[in-house]
């Protein structure tokens, strides 16, 4: 019987580049920026890293298809490096590889790094790209907002909401994240917005308007992980350990079986339930202090609150409007500004989100520091509401 990942691996150090339209920075530049912060925080030498996992999402616009760009950028010493890609869960997937390697005993110190360069396309939004030979033959030519706008229609139909009420709650999600992002010097978008601005912005994909969408940015984030014993031997105190690391991947049930109505994310429900069990969490609303969830679009965050059991089903709109997830609410969400303000460099996002939870748990989050945070959950959702990959990680103080 597997015992799970809880408290087997700790984070030795983390780093995160400034996110934004980094016109003058290559993927290598971004990787080095994140890595330099990370290795200084970890207090180890590059030569002590025994294996690395490299997350990058969109080959054609980024670094290509192998692990070599990471090894070359960081001049890693011919160690094993594995490239991973799992859509928007890529960053967390890289983290998972490094954590599992350490937990297995195969190596003592491992690196996970994610990077994405999205701003070299010549146009706004995510790059237009293939969904594979099969899907390209018959899938609608949907954009990312087009994919998730369908979630809004499914959620609205399921809970018999009128368009205006849902849109107002979606606006609140974005207003809250912008308020948080305004306090974060590494965020791409560092300014507040109003609910009126969000509600009245032009539609990108109805009912998703401009301010319901996360930014599109370049960025990189990374983590160095090891065992609690080694961390202690290196003189580290107040260790932050991995409590849960879960992944759920759609098997086509949502897209082809009548049991799914388009109103929720089946994978998030499954992955979060497994993660709570792995971490020994019985009451998420009581035990999770803060969340960094995949707010690619405001509606995704709202529905995710229910799928993570932080809202009762159908109560997401009320809980959002009541401020439950605001910085001064019961369970602050996107205290760093989220994808909304950081943008979503695919390969980097998961690690960037863990980075924020890590800073908060270490009391190093500056102007946005929460009081006495205990347990941070990070959630990514890669793909589309009807076919996706959900990753969940939970970190907290090592016991």
């Amino acid at each position: 019987m597997a015992s799970g990942i809880k408290d087997k691996v700790v984070i030795l150090g983390m780093g995160c580049s400034k996110f934004g339209e980094r016109w003058d920075s290559s993927p290598s530049d971004l990787m080095v920026e994140a890595f330099e912060e990370c290795i200084e925080d970890a207090g180890v030498e590059r030569e002590q890293i025994e294996a690395a996992w490299f997350g990058a999402g969109i080959d054609a616009f980024n670094v290509g298809s192998s692990a070599m760009p990471l090894a070359i950028a960081l001049r890693l010493n011919y160690i094993p490096v594995t490239k991973v890609e799992n859509m928007c869960a890529t960053g967390t997937e890289a983290f998972r590889g490094a954590v599992y390697a350490v937990a297995s005993g195969a190596c003592d110190i491992a690196l996970a790094l994610g990077v994405e360069k999205l701003k070299d396309t010549g146009y706004g939004g995510l790059p237009q790209r293939t969904r594979g030979l099969e899907n390209d033959m018959y899938w609608p030519n949907l954009s990312a907002p087009g994919a998730f706008a369908q979630l809004a229609s499914g959620y609205r139909a399921r809970h018999k909401l009128n368009k205006g009420d849902l849109k107002r709650a979606m606006a609140h999600v974005s207003v809250k994240s912008h308020a948080n992002g305004a306090k974060n010097p590494k965020a791409h978008l560092q300014r507040e917005i109003t609910e009126d601005q969000a509600v009245n912005a032009p539609f990108i994909a109805e009912p998703i308007g401009l301010y319901d969408c996360c930014g599109v940015s370049d960025g990189s984030a990374c983590a160095i992980v090891t065992t609690p014993e080694i961390a202690k031997s290196l003189g580290k105190e107040n260790l932050i350990s991995v409590k849960a690391l879960q992944l759920a991947v759609s098997n086509g049930t949502e897209s082809s079986h009548d049991s799914w109505d388009g109103s929720h994310l089946k994978t998030t429900r499954i992955a979060s339930q497994r993660a709570y069990e792995e971490a020994g969490i019985r009451k998420p609303t009581e035990e999770i202090t803060m969340t960094e969830v995949h707010d690619c679009f405001s509606i995704t965050e709202l529905v995710t609150m229910e799928d993570l059991q932080l809202s009762e089903e159908g109560k997401g709109v009320n809980d959002v409007l009541d401020g439950n997830f605001d910085s001064d609410g019961k369970t602050p969400c996107q205290i760093d500004g989220g994808l909304k303000c950081f943008g979503h460099p695919i390969g980097a996002s998961g690690l960037r989100m863990i980075y924020e939870n890590y800073l908060q748990l270490n009391g190093k989050a500056g102007a946005r520091q929460l009081d006495d945070p205990k347990m941070g959950l990070n959630h990514n959702l890669g793909g589309f509401p009807h076919q996706n990959i959900c990753s969940i990680s939970i970190i907290g103080p090592y016991n």
């Binding site: 396309t121 010549g122 146009y123 939004g125 237009q128 790209r129 293939t130 030979l133 099969e134 033959m137 018959y138 899938w139 609608p140 030519n141 949907l142 954009s143 990312a144 907002p145 087009g146 706008a149 369908q150 979630l151 809004a152 229609s153 499914g154 609205r156 139909a157 032009p202 539609f203 990108i204 994909a205 109805e206 009912p207 998703i208 086509g252 049930t253 897209s255 082809s256 079986h257 009548d258 049991s259 109505d261 388009g262 509401p385 009807h386």
Partner: protein, 479 residues
């Protein structure tokens, strides 16, 4: 006795205001103002002669569910493919028997009447289908743009339950070049209208009709429906007079409602005449082009009980007014639009992969599990039912004739679409099965979760670099 056993039509719902055409172009050619009345049928960006043919043929088959098809002929001068049999694509979209005989007939405005004659002369057991479909391109600001329209129509030919029997057939082959379109040309080149009338219509049609009537012992006065497909407004009446056919018998060419649908026009007007014909009435059908064809038909008693599933008058009434002439230019590739960088993604079709998925892509066939009864699309190796997941347990299951309900949807303004916003979403089918698919011809405000839809064969994507186009099925919000 061979004759027509069923008929139906398809007219695109888009109707471009001719006043909009005139307003855009009369600065150059003021004579267009006099033509600026009424409207013309226009293909949506995702329609062509193949998709319209599928619609017309499907309508026709829906009105005669017991049809036993042995052949399918497709007549057009605007085939999307010059070498890839277009009628086979139509046949597969209709999910017809693979042993069917198919043929494309083109090259002339009388392609459809010649194909009809061939089927009438050869009909044996079972029914043969003739579909005529036309999507003619014309230069911006031309008279043709004002006079032509896009349409399709289909008839079944057979010997059982004939609704209009064939009494006589006559043809004339004369290389009279009223217009032509050469191998490398995008547009027709034509000669003076008056010359075409005097030396063309007024000479060759009487030659053929006189001979036809002589051979059938039917007199001109007995013709109740006289079909002369032409974009010359006054010529049918002038010819009727010359032939001593009753002026009321002239079947209107619908220039102000649909526009003249090229090679499809004879069959569209035949469908219209049959819709109105009473038992015993005579129909004289002409096809004109490098000579002419003439077919004399007589409605039987069976016509009074025949009901087309759609019919010409209902197809005419199902319309959506289009006032934007620029959109028409764009849909017909008559103007070089800036379509944005998102449109630059390569549209290569991987033919071997396409071939593997042809059941899904062309026929919209999914699967039904023999173990648990779950209906699903696409059809994969393992059943999708989480409680079943049986291997290779699915029989083919047709979705193209199913209605469905919109579960989720959006109007996407970021992605590339020839007519933004792009509407798509999850369709839940009556009887089970669901798929995320495109919606087409959605009018703003007409769609929400719960809306009813039917599915239609449409163009999905063009690959201009390789001259290919992909088709797939799209949902249309029910009436």
């Amino acid at each position: 006795m061979s004759g027509i056993t069923a008929f139906d039509a398809y007219i695109p719902r888009g109707r471009l205001s001719k006043q909009a055409i005139a307003e855009a172009n009369s600065w150059f050619d003021s004579s267009l103002k006099s033509l600026g009345r009424g409207e013309r049928a226009i293909c949506n960006w995702d329609e062509d002669s193949i998709t319209m043919a599928v619609e017309a043929a499907n309508n026709c088959l829906c009105s005669k569910l017991d049809a036993d098809l042995s052949s399918l002929y497709l007549a057009s001068t605007t085939f999307p493919f010059l070498d890839r049999q277009n009628s086979v694509v139509v046949s597969e979209a209709l999910n017809l028997n693979k042993n069917i005989r198919t043929m494309d007939v083109g090259g002339s405005q009388r392609a459809a009447t010649s194909a009809l004659i061939s089927l009438l002369e050869s009909s044996g057991e079972g029914d043969s289908m003739l579909v005529a479909s036309e999507h003619r391109r014309s230069k911006a600001g031309s008279r043709a743009e004002m006079l032509w329209g896009d349409s399709a129509a289909a008839v079944l030919v057979g010997t059982n339950n004939v609704i209009a029997e064939c009494l006589a057939i006559e043809s004339l082959a004369v290389d009279f070049i009223d217009h032509y379109r050469g191998e490398d040309a995008n547009f027709d080149y034509d000669w003076e209208e008056r010359w075409i009338r005097d030396e063309g219509f007024m000479k060759s049609v009487p030659t053929v009709v006189d001979k036809l009537l002589d051979s059938s012992s039917v007199s001109a006065e007995q013709i109740n429906h006289f079909i002369l497909p032409t974009d010359q407004a006054r010529t049918p009446a002038a010819l009727a007079k010359k032939l001593r056919i009753n002026p009321e018998a002239v079947v209107d060419n619908q220039i102000a409602e649909v526009g003249v649908a090229g090679a499809a026009q004879p069959i569209l007007l035949l469908a219209k005449a049959l819709e109105n014909a009473k038992p015993g009435e005579h129909i004289l059908l002409i096809g004109f082009g490098q000579g002419c064809d003439a077919v004399l038909l007589k409605a039987t008693d069976a016509i009074s009980s025949y009901k087309p599933s759609v019919g010409v008058s209902a197809a005419l009434a199902s319309r959506r007014e289009e006032l934007n002439y620029n959109k028409f230019l764009s849909f017909n590739n008559l103007v070089e639009r800036d379509i944005g960088k998102r449109a630059e993604v390569d549209k290569q079709t991987y033919l071997s992969g396409y071939n593997r998925r042809k059941d899904l892509l062309t026929s919209f066939v999914g699967g039904k599990c023999r173990e648990c009864g779950t209906v699903q699309i696409p059809r994969e190796k393992y059943c999708v039912n989480p409680d079943c997941n049986a291997l290779e347990s699915q029989d083919p299951y047709n979705f193209s004739d199913k209605q469905g309900t919109v579960a989720t949807w959006t109007a996407d303004r970021l992605t590339f679409d020839w007519s933004p916003p792009a509407y798509f979403g999850m369709v839940q089918f009556d009887g089970g099965g669901k798929i995320m698919m495109d919606f087409t011809e959605v009018e703003e405000g007409s769609i929400d979760s719960g809306s009813k839809v039917s599915v239609h064969f449409r163009i999905r994507q063009f690959d201009p670099a390789r001259g290919f186009r992909k088709y797939f099925w799209k949902a249309v919000i029910a009436g």
